[in-house]
Symmetry: C3
Subunit: 320 residues, 3 copies
């Protein structure tokens, strides 16, 4: 594995999930693989789960880890070519990425979208240039349009907790006070669509009018603006807010009640409830769900270690 | 040991001090104990000594360490229950603590008081919720009302440097330009009162009128507003500023001279001088003391490693 | 080696370069040397290459590393003696350095000049006090007047890439939008002058009138204000901006074109081009050079690991 950026970077969702679960049952089996190998984690934005779980995964594999907060420990990066650098950016991504690639065997990068210009964000320019110039395998720690470690974690968690061979999984939009990226729902959607192709799940997306995700991520999904209809018979409900893709970054007023609560869950098959965290309590999701027996959010966060570890393991195996 | 928050978390001050001194003489004896175990250090406020010495202690025990600056690397935490999270807090302590507990075998937390509302600070709400929700042993790296690693360090240092069986120890208030928490003096007082019960020290507190600490921490201590009287025959003088507990967080004008200097120390038994650091030179404590032979402040700071290491060792032993 | 601050801290440039190249060919040969030893890296200013490469070097030697961002994780340091600390500085360097020396076997410190007062900056007061009070070996991670790890790296890189026994090396001033320190060119000059004494290089400095460096660093160098003349026959061109030493920290308007490009390089002996990074593209140096076959900037940055590693190795050997 040379990069981990989208679901296209794995051949089989089923296989990578099984490999992750094997690591979970025996975390220190591959310490020789990471010996004398260094993981560099580059954060252009804040992180809690990703930061800690990826460090933990690397240490489980015997790797060294170096963390770099580029917004604070380092400096502003230029990404455009052919401009005279006489402004506020201090270093070009060509040099910064190449240099970090010299010090690290594998790099991880987190970079959020600006939510101003859809073409710019969806071009994944920064991420692609980072991959191009650093010369080593790169793990996405969340990019403008995707959060693949989260989606792999989610699939691991669904696999562990399913009670039927092919569970019904519903991605349900929820309210928020801020305009959030589409990265988590995009990524979840593309992983679930692939899992559906593999016969692992049945996938539905429910969102208010205007909040449709890009077609590039949702091919094969059942898409609806009727929350109650979508939830019927669901085995897993994945709650998440996102801003509009069509009117890019917009937040529309939604008159109906989309906050997830036990009343809405009544039509499900005693659905387990998931969220990538951080979650706004009683705005996205009711406290009664989060503190109740059907919440998987902590177990889901816990599985971030195994998602990261299987990705790093595959990269290390190719490094030789 | 499931938590290290106050003196109540140790059975015997004498025993824990002896165990720390044994580690000091042989720092790497327990490297197997920490193998594949991870310490997470969570800082909601700045730290130098605590940050470095606790990392060092964990590495001496063979542990991995992950450091999280929650004010910068992460985000603002909500602690109240039953509110709609539509404001500036991004994550509830219930989730944040639980998630960190999934990635770490032991957690350390630093959180200063706000010094606005005494009930709130002294309830130790954040700290108690962190312990409750994280599900793993927790070491206080200083909380609103206590700094137990500092106090254990102080007792180790007194034990190493005493020339009499039962030295007289004086906690002496000193001036400062800012309103400081009572955490260090509270903690020092409760540890010295316990040490006095065990027959290890004779403990006196000297402070100006209005600066009395809470009774909960000072039971058994001799308390005086006369600095010169208190210092007579002292073997150790522990200098520290704090703001008022009674008029919570207030700083009164003090007419007498409470800055510690060699002239005031003349009535002592060639007392050794201690301070938790950072110290304001020539405001709390004279440079002549700090740069002279009777200062223990650097040795005291150095002992922070062994205080942290004995606490982590005891926690690791119970983890099995 | 007790400190690494200037070229005077090495006996022979040739020897230290050869030792570094031996480490490069066999990075993990000295893991026992660093076992149970701790490197503390203290940053008063931002850092990317130095931060990562020095960590990497220490881990290659089997050391533990603790990183301290004093501007953010810690607090403001006082350096003056004999003043009452009732202002904004929270801790005196006497205590801060001594305490860090207790927790670490070797310390690294980065501190930039303020570029306001030449006497103050060139006295290296902070750095010297840090060395004096910490009590352990200190590696400069760049100080007010020097960046020795960079210069050692540069000499390693020149040694690897030279095609003639005694290459001509030209340090060429280049434009910038900000007033930069003289640390990198000072340091490069003193290392090249020493290398010239050892018969390793022929060293020339080219800069516009008014940008002359201090004589203390340039003894033996050919110094010219004619860029074209200086470049003739050059084997290595080291491009770098700096502000005026004479009119301290000033930036003069320079009418001629000093940005390095392929046209100017035409008179060289197919010179390899070097820069310490970060570089302002098409302001200091043309993109065509940076993206072309003659640029050494990434290899140079990569060699930072071996410069740091040889210095740490020598310090560890003396620690015993």
């Amino acid at each position: 594995m040379k990069k981990f950026f989208s679901v296209k970077d794995v051949d089989s969702v089923a296989d990578v999930v099984q490999e992750a679960l094997a690591l979970k049952s025996s975390p220190f089996d591959f310490q020789e693989l990471g010996k004398h190998k260094t993981l560099g984690l580059v954060f252009l934005n804040p992180s809690l789960r990703t930061r800690l779980s990826t460090q933990k995964a690397a240490m489980n594999l015997g790797m060294n880890v170096m963390v770099m907060n580029m917004d604070k420990d380092g400096w502003a990066l230029e990404t455009q070519d052919g401009i005279v650098m006489n402004g506020s950016t201090v270093e070009h991504i060509r040099e910064a990425a190449a240099v970090m690639g010299e010090y690290c065997d594998i790099l991880g990068l987190r970079s959020f979208p600006k939510l101003k210009d859809r073409e710019e964000d969806y071009s994944e320019d920064l991420f692609n240039k980072f991959i191009k110039y650093c010369g080593v395998p790169v793990v996405s720690l969340e990019s403008a349009t995707r959060h693949p470690l989260q989606s792999l974690t989610d699939m691991i968690t669904i696999t562990e907790h399913k009670n039927v061979a092919k569970p019904k999984v519903v991605l349900a939009w929820a309210p928020h006070v801020k305009a959030l990226p589409q990265a988590v729902p995009n990524s979840f959607a593309e992983w679930m669509c692939k899992a559906q192709e593999e016969g692992l799940v049945d996938f539905t997306i429910a969102q208010p009018m205007g909040y449709e995700l890009s077609d590039d991520f949702t091919k094969g999904a059942t898409i609806s603006t009727n929350l109650n209809e979508s939830l019927k018979g669901a085995d897993f409900v994945y709650v998440k807010n996102w801003s509009s893709y069509k009117e890019y970054g917009e937040v529309y007023t939604v008159d109906e009640d989309w906050m997830m609560d036990n009343e809405k869950l009544a039509v499900t098959n005693s659905a387990k409830v998931m969220h990538c965290l951080p979650v706004r309590r009683d705005l996205e999701l009711s406290s009664e769900i989060l503190d109740g027996p059907n919440s998987l959010v902590i177990k889901e966060a816990s599985n971030r270690v195994w998602a990261a570890q299987v990705v790093l393991k595959r990269m290390l195996e190719e490094l030789g």
